[in-house]
Subunit: 202 residues, 3 copies
């Protein structure tokens, strides 16, 4: 019963997955614009950032990546890249909106990743790692592809810790047999609060 | 019927695959020589550049990489590395030959990659991405392994766009039920012309 | 019979695998400390270095990574990271111990990786490559993630060559039907001697 519910919540929210891809693609595309890359660079970084995390997760789970199985993932990443190409200036001025969207999705997507790992029979510790890879992997791939140290490794970056906190809260509540919805909401909220708190304190 | 033909053309040209590995290994090995690496570096970069693209493609398709299944891939990459080791100077003077071979294979190998993805049931958009990863992945891996931004992302690089143009022409003609041979030749020609044109204009 | 024996030796030494993870995690964590990363960085690099090699090997073999299937791998990497976090200074003063442990495991783990590849039906050349990826992959991943050229590619680095020598000796003796134990010991000894010899000559 519980397993069925879990599989359900992992597979249902295509719209959420696509939202993550969209926000990731925009953030990746903007990085490419800042660094002066041309169309090919913007599109490549938008795709890598948008679908890289779920692709790494699925490759590690030894499955065909959902981002290749369902063409909407790539279409959404291309949509984000197009938006960046035509409205880079506007998007950069909307930095706070992108940050808030990113902070919300950071926790939610880590939880979705951990859930998928658990639904595939992994134990807690590997499932937590896969959740983190899912939610942080896209940005890390973007940084590696542009020859930078992934931001998550640099001193003072609370990004990874915020993501981890949310996944831990989710997994902990899930173990305590709290309802799935509450666990997801609580985990996402913890990540969001940690991330925004760290950002406001500079 | 069509599917059978497709699978056939994807699996037949081992000689072509090995030619791609050979040219890739030479180009990767030469990069290592230019940067002053020793034997281990030349061999590693030759292998990574030669088989990296098809390896990434197969890992993403959730299959055992053909470059590991068939030992001729590695043997060919080692052959390319050996050639670089003994005749680096000559090969560098043959830069135009390597460039032309590379431009020819760039389109052809992207098409082979897209075909393999389609033969494995992927839809168009992911198949196009996999074609690009197949043909560009080796060089990108080489650059990431040597701590550089992959050249394909840098401004003015028409490499990725040339590869994309050929794959799009191929996929489009294939959809229009043009004969497979014509689609392959046309796609390869478009990539070749774009690539050489960009190179001649500097 | 032989195949059964092989599979046995590949799957038995969990303690050895965990020792490799432990030493790798410590070396990765120390690199993070030297570069001034914070907790997230130390933990990430310890995990990447500790389990990266076997993860790459298993992904390439198209299997669920053993480091995700068995939670002790991650637990061990976290143990190494914790040790680094509290005793970085002491560990750095124990540089020679870490070097010797690393030199011993370098050969042994390459042999385990090659064995696993052979047990999965790969031919010699790809099996040798997979052995090298298993034993060198973690450190290479650590360097790529921190934006450096993997040390194995740089001039004068005998690391890869020492690992290769041991794997070749093992594979050669194995082919000659020498007992598995002797082949493993001889291969490990060759790598150890090459590595320590290169280090002593500076």
């Amino acid at each position: 019963m519980t397993t069925l519910l879990r599989v359900e919540i992992v597979q249902t929210p295509l719209a959420l997955d696509l939202l993550v891809v969209f926000v990731g693609a925009i953030s990746g595309g903007l990085v490419a614009v800042v660094r002066g890359y041309d169309v090919a660079g913007v599109v490549s970084l938008a795709i890598a950032t948008g679908i890289g995390g779920s692709m790494l997760r699925d490759v590690l789970l030894n499955q065909l990546p959902v981002a290749l199985d369902n063409p909407w993932y790539l279409a959404t990443a291309l949509g984000g890249a197009t938006l960046v190409f035509f409205f880079a200036g506007t998007l950069q001025r909307m930095g706070a909106v992108v940050l808030i969207a990113d902070a919300l999705l950071l926790g939610l997507y880590g939880i979705v990743g951990a859930e998928k790992a658990i639904a595939n029979g992994l134990e807690l510790l590997p499932a937590i790692l896969l959740g983190l890879i899912t939610t942080i992997g896209g940005g890390a791939l973007r940084d590696v592809l542009t020859g930078r140290t992934p931001e998550v490794f640099e001193k003072g970056e609370l990004y990874a810790i915020a993501a981890l906190a949310g996944v831990l809260v989710f997994v902990g509540l899930d173990r305590l047999d709290v309802s799935l919805t509450i666990a997801v909401v609580a985990g996402t909220a913890v990540t969001f609060a940690t991330r925004i708190g760290a950002w406001r304190r500079g």
